[in-house]
Symmetry: C2
Subunit: 349 residues, 2 copies
DNA sequence: CCTGAGTAGTAAACCGATTTAACGCTCAAG
DNA sequence: CTTGAGCGTTAAATCGGTTTACTACTCAGG
């Protein structure tokens, strides 16, 4: 049971001070080439690797970034948009030689988990941390960056212009003549569904829809809402099944691409043509759905970029806590074929 | 820019030594109740939290467990079996107040990532680490536990009896009279497909199939193979589409439930009844597919248990490096309805 | 020959905790 | 009155590095 190899062992073997060994790993230019080479050789044959923990303590930096997600890991990862954001974050970590600690929200212990997570900063993805949570971060004076949630002006954030994107999307829908819409939502409070409240990205999207609808107040628009706890395609299929019995709308407006793809499946099953018999719009523009035919009309939310920007904001916090920026990522309409034009030959017309 | 609150600040404020403060957090019973209470009160109002890194260094334990997965995080998490294993691992971590570090396999930097990951041990999930990798772990003298991969007798492992499970499953298939089979595989080397080589769990499954087939050498059995790079249902659908043109087999034997569920979709699309027109078997028995009708006949692989056992083995390594165990998790046939009985009314009969 | 600017390397302080060994005190037993 | 056990507390060593300040030495310029 030999104890761990330390920097002293290498120093002794190489006949230098431990400072020299440290320099060999951290500031090679401060050493004469010959010495440097000797030290590196020796640590290689001995198999020395600087202890990460000790290094972190001395450097006052853990060299790793904490990422907090709502719900459990598996739940979060099925969502393509999360995957994209993770790629953005991962790219940053790789470039800067950071490692990534997913702080798993084990039931209720999230606080405790954060308490003794050795991270230099925390990025939250898609949810608003609680008061006590913020408090804890403050005590440990850990910088925080939120994505898809804005706490106040003191905490840097990356958000997506959900409201504007939703508004523009629905304007496009209405602009093509559709008047009988079905909006697939997630479970939200009634006032959120009406588009009157809420700061979550989902409610902001509903607010955008509401805004576009209000612009047409005079005209007759029929809107129905359906919601499902599950984002999965299958759940949307069954929702649509109910809708089928109630009489189909002209267009189904979704809050995510996953929902929309459920509608695709439903349509195929019922032999409905998209968009002639039933038009569909998605939300997010996840790259993973590119293969769908007809191409989905949706609003692209650049997840990779969001992840990358969050890291940049974190970096700013590390450099200087004074500057706090709030970035809003622009939406980008993806003109597919699934919306089409409200044709004159529409049966009800 | 006040510096971090340290144990000394608390000690000074409370009028005790820093040892006492440390005891307050780690061995409360060594302090007089009054002193304990005072210290805790003061650290609370001051907002003191012991620095995780310093604590780790002193304790010579990082209090967190590294988990290595093949491919990227998102890729791994779409697989229900991974999700189950993660739950098993997560449960252990939660109970023992460990935190979980996913060491993300950022392109090629996996080695570097491991090098300065502050973990007490590493569990690999579903792949065999390289030589250099083992070397590095050795240098840092970090314990390793492998799941679904057995390196040698010195490294603890958890494996599933893939071969036996596959053999029993195929025996059941053949035992019900089926003779025209189609085996859906993943991309593997030709000799693996024939069931002659390989140590990966997939090839071990194929070996089990081969074994069951060999037992029937005398009788006529028609076996065809199809493979797909993607595990997703949709890919299997298109595979089946080709099969459809080539003439349908009696039964499709899959290497995963995801594949099998693709066959379900295909069958529904073509109006084929399961199992009357086309029988199907899965593999893994992921809990997430419980809702399928008819209930799938499959072999259940208890992912939660595997994760839990891996953690137990890791725990043993932490206690005492001498004992090394190799656990083999038993398979469990799930008798569903999707295999049925090869009926006498089969058209070709 | 003296000065001043680099160079190469080192000693010692430090990072923020844990933990061991010892200390002073009280009180019951001998 | 001593001895010694037990309790509450602390000083000091330790964990394994990084970093600052300083020393010794070399060499070019005046």
């Amino acid at each position: 049971m030999k104890s761990r190899l330390t920097i002293l062992d290498v120093a002794r073997e190489a006949g230098v001070s431990k400072t020299a060994v440290s320099f060999a790993f951290n500031s090679p230019q401060r050493l004469a080439p010959a010495t440097l080479k000797k030290i590196l050789n020796i640590s290689d044959t001995l198999g020395y690797v600087p202890d990460p923990t000790a290094r972190r303590l001395a450097r006052r930096s853990s060299g790793n970034l904490g990422v907090l997600i709502p719900q459990t890991l598996p739940e979060a990862f099925v969502h393509p948009h999360f995957q994209e954001m993770f790629q953005g974050i991962g790219e940053f970590c790789e470039r800067r030689e950071f490692s990534l600690t997913l702080i798993p929200p084990l039931q209720g212990c999230l606080l405790k988990a954060v308490r003794n997570a050795a991270v230099d900063g925390v990025i939250t993805l898609g949810f608003t941390p609680s008061e006590t949570f913020l408090d804890l971060l403050g005590k440990r004076s850990l910088p925080l960056v939120t994505v898809d949630s804005r706490i106040d002006s003191t905490i840097p954030s990356v958000t997506f212009e959900d409201r504007e994107a939703a508004r523009d999307l629905l304007r496009a829908v209405l602009g093509r003549g559709y008047r009988n819409l079905h909006i697939l939502t997630f479970p939200v409070a009634p006032e959120e569904v009406r588009g009157n409240a809420g700061s979550r990205s989902l409610s902001r999207r509903l607010q955008g829809f509401r805004q576009a609808l209000d612009e047409l107040k005079s005209e007759n628009v029929f809107v129905s809402y359906g919601s499902s706890r599950v984002t999965a395609e299958s759940a949307c299929e069954s929702l649509m099944e109910q809708q089928w019995e109630a009489g189909l709308p002209q267009v189904v407006v979704c809050l995510s691409d996953a929902q929309a793809s459920g509608v695709y499946v439903f349509a195929e099953k019922k032999g409905l043509r998209i968009p002639e018999d039933l038009a569909v719009t998605g939300f997010d523009g996840s790259l993973s759905l590119k293969h769908l035919r007809p191409v989905m009309t949706t609003v692209r939310q650049p997840g990779f970029l969001k992840g990358k920007l969050a890291c940049e904001l974190m970096d700013e916090q590390w450099r200087d806590r004074a500057t706090v920026r709030h970035l809003v990522v622009k939406a980008h309409m993806v003109e597919g074929k699934s919306l089409g034009q409200m044709s004159k030959s529409w049966p009800n017309d």
